[in-house]
Symmetry: C2
Subunit: 363 residues, 2 copies
């Protein structure tokens, strides 16, 4: 994890942009502390609960990177009034107008980024769409409006579906160029647009330059996972999160090794299913982290993992993996697996006793 | 939920068997209280943490229904010494021998069921396998052993893959007959075998008779879900668990409605993927529970749901589902979705204010 943090921050420093890590992956104060110590400035969150928890721990500059809807306006207001320098996101005239009205009615000016769609992945406004200027027009403090346009943000989430350096570099440039173009249109229309925020782990690590971008966001890089290894932005060795489980049974007839680590521990995320290498529910390794190529994690029940032996027929699995053997499973998707737990057991970088770092979940 | 509890208990009463609900689905004291009030006797758990939490709340008779391995022996012992009437499960000679030794070395006699495999689904010993008697022989208090054979248990998990009443009834009979046969072999070999425990929600609701069975276990029936509706043991109307989310955006070009309910809220469970009707990440309904046939929950990110409009082209989705609209999503798999939350918001059966019922997660 320490190496992953250093690598990402080093890359951002080299590209000359501010780095605002997405804390939705770890939801852990100890992790965020290390990201900030390495040079990160400000945090990105996926829920207002994360904003609340990180603010309570002293982090004041927070971007809530999911388009905000009216039921959350009051919560955002409470956080801002408590002292959070909170930035929220909109991607429609309707949301912008209602947010501005909400701010005005409550004597507050919300700080807002417009979400830009640079890859057709999910949400946001196309950089060339007329709606971009309409949304900006609705975010104004002139005439007593309660929301101020601070800039634009985008997330090229479709980068998760790529797996060559060329495609990743091209997607990073597409993400950058689209977001910068949206900012230029806004500025040409007379809007201040100081923030140009882009990012995903694959594009952040693949960008050649980030001209016009002021900050980058990325989350899963902190742990990495098998999906990211499949995309090609890390190796299996870089993966800093694993689930330790125990062998509880065998089936000689089917060649199965049964563990007490099922989908409740791994999550149901099958993110490598569409990749070149499908790891099932995770990559099986010995407790020391050495991958076991001949055990495939093919099926999972709530508290049972079903590992299929793919090695030599007739192998004595009870002798090779006796009842009680511990196995370490690397996850498909770190965000999903970590969310199944309320704490991390941490191996200190420089040795010493295992530590326990809490995390939080929920909304 | 109240109707689901009444239905299952009524069926068990009619079949003349003791019902031991599996509390892994809800992990909620308020839910268990209602199951017991309806007539359930004893609880089934999937983790020793559940045993701990339910014992702390006054439930003393607990079956830990996952084969136990040596790293958990001490925990089981602590629970037993604290007063839990804890039954554990083994399915190998190795585990039986080590458990017996552990009991002896700690002045305790573990109460044990042998897991029987009646459908090739996962773990357990085939009813006709010689190993059944070997495991039983290792579970003996004669000569100072520290484990006592209490009976047999099985779980016909492959019933989840069926979808006709005929196949379900046949599987229920296969589960019953296999487990009873294992008990008979044990008794013929001179072992007391008072407990014959079977169950899964589909087989429990499909059994014609349960001759020779002493208790049934089932869990997901308490909430039901889309997978169970696909299996055919409930209707969509019976589903008692849902996730309320909010519309946060639209894409007119692709016909998408974006919500703030992604896989973190629904879980990544895609249990209906292999069924006749694939519900994506869940069945979309209006806030009042009325299904919306033309919105398909096709994709999910961590905090984003992507609903695809499948109705008339050109429909004004912003007008039909304005920003801020609340939608209710019925889950594929209640166990997985509920585990993403630390509490339930409960609609009292007889009206009145919403209640909050906590649940627990983890190990």
């Amino acid at each position: 994890m320490a190496a992953n943090i250093a690598r990402m921050q080093g890359r951002m420093d080299a590209l000359g942009v501010r780095f605002r890590p997405h804390v939705k992956t770890a939801k852990c104060l100890e992790v965020a502390r290390r990201q900030v110590a390495a040079g990160a400035r400000g945090l990105t969150v996926s829920t207002l609960k994360e904003a609340e928890c990180f603010f309570a721990a002293g982090y004041g500059d927070i971007l809530y990177a999911v388009a905000i809807a009216p039921p959350k306006f009051d919560h955002a207001l409470r956080l801002a009034k408590a002292g959070v320098r909170l930035t929220v996101v909109v991607e429609s005239v309707a949301a912008a107008e209602r947010l501005s009205r909400h701010g005005r009615e409550n004597g507050h000016v919300h700080t807002v980024l417009i979400e830009v769609d640079t890859d057709g992945h999910r949400s946001g406004i196309h950089p060339e769409a007329p709606a971009l200027l309409d949304v900006a027009a609705a975010l104004t403090v002139e005439g007593g409006g309660g929301a101020r346009l601070s800039g634009v943000m985008t997330h090229a989430g479709s980068s998760y579906g790529l797996n060559t350096p060329e495609a990743l570099t091209a997607m990073a440039e597409q993400e950058r160029a689209g977001c910068v173009r949206a900012a230029e249109r806004l500025r040409a229309a007379g809007h201040a647009c100081p923030v140009v925020s882009v990012g995903s782990t694959p594009t952040a690590l693949s960008a050649r330059h980030l001209e016009g971008v002021t900050e980058v966001r990325a989350g899963v890089y902190v742990f990495f996972d098998l999906v990211m290894a499949g995309v090609g932005v890390c190796t299996v060795d870089d993966i800093a999160l694993s689930v330790l489980c125990t062998v509880i049974g065998h089936r000689a007839d089917t060649g199965w090794v049964i563990t007490d680590g099922g989908w409740m521990a791994m999550s149901r995320d099958r993110g490598t299913q569409r990749q070149t290498k499908d790891y099932g529910y995770g990559l099986v390794a010995a407790a020391d982290g050495t991958p076991i190529a001949d055990l495939a994690f093919r099926d999972a029940n709530q508290e049972h993992g079903v590992l299929h032996w793919t090695g030599a027929v007739g192998t004595d699995l009870e002798a090779l993996f006796p009842i009680g053997t511990q196995l370490r499973i690397l996850p498909n998707h770190a965000c999903a697996t970590a969310a199944q737990f309320d704490a991390y057991t941490v191996l200190p970088k420089d040795g010493g006793d295992l530590q326990r770092w809490g995390r939080f979940n929920g909304w």
